[in-house]
């Protein structure tokens, strides 16, 4: 099953630990098989599976009350924007090519894992999995405008973190 790798990679970024990621993928897989008659052949199987993955994760968080689910809160977004702004003063002139060359996959994963969930999810789904804004809106159950705003803030946050990482 060729979608297992991207599902697991995404689960790792959502849960940030291997045991939870494995459970999440397995639950997603079992649900997909149970509800396979709800999938319309010819539509996007990957988007359908990712929607199940995200819903399963959301339900788990709700059940465990590990993290607030209302990630749309302006406060969360403002707080993280400000947190980023304070460490954004170093190395502003860094050329992107140097950053690209000096950044390791592990740096990127660590920077992503350090971001609030809503932004981590948004940049991952857009730039790694390459879903459209509309697909993401459906998957995450939020308006397209919210999706775009999360991608924007998430990307800027990530750039600042990576710049910080390469400059020690």
């Amino acid at each position: 099953m060729r979608l297992l790798e991207p599902l697991y990679a995404t689960a790792m970024r959502l849960t940030r630990n291997r045991a939870d990621a494995e459970d999440l993928v397995q639950d997603t897989f079992v649900k997909a098989l149970r509800f396979e008659d709800r999938f319309t052949p010819g539509t996007n199987l990957k988007a359908w599976l990712f929607t199940i993955l995200h819903n399963t994760w959301k339900n788990r968080l709700r059940g465990a009350a590990r993290e607030p689910v209302d990630v749309d809160s302006e406060r969360v977004e403002e707080a993280s924007a400000q947190a980023g702004a304070t460490d954004g003063s170093v190395g502003v002139e860094t050329p992107e090519r140097i950053l690209l060359r000096s950044t390791l996959d592990a740096d990127v994963k660590a920077a992503l894992d350090d971001m609030p969930e809503a932004f981590r999810q948004a940049v991952w789904l857009r730039d790694v999995e390459e879903f459209s804004y509309a697909e993401m809106a459906e998957m995450l159950g939020v308006p397209v405008g919210t999706v775009m705003s999360r991608i924007s803030r998430g990307r800027r946050m990530l750039a600042r973190k990576l710049r910080g990482a390469t400059h020690g």
Partner: protein
């Protein structure tokens, strides 16, 4: 900043190259005159380039063998 909001809302679509030419030109005109918005645009572009350059490796995580076999077993169970 109130005026910048109008541009920042469309920054992602701009960076993704999804805006029609006239909107694109409007954003570029604003960016040329507004260093803070230009910084935002550069940061978005940098993150996008870094992630997309690594996308294939990032999304192809090594699946633990145990997970793969459990998923295979569920699949076989369904086909029976």
């Amino acid at each position: 900043m109130g005026d910048c909001r109008r541009f920042l809302d469309r920054l992602t679509a701009y960076v993704d190259g999804l805006l029609p030419p006239e909107e694109r030109a409007e954003i570029e005109q604003h960016l040329a005159a507004c260093p803070p918005c230009q910084d935002c645009a550069s940061d978005e572009q940098i993150a996008r380039i870094v992630l997309r350059a690594r996308a294939v490796r990032l999304r192809n995580a090594a699946v633990p063998p145990g997970l793969r076999s459990r998923c295979d077993a569920s699949l076989r169970g369904r086909k029976r």
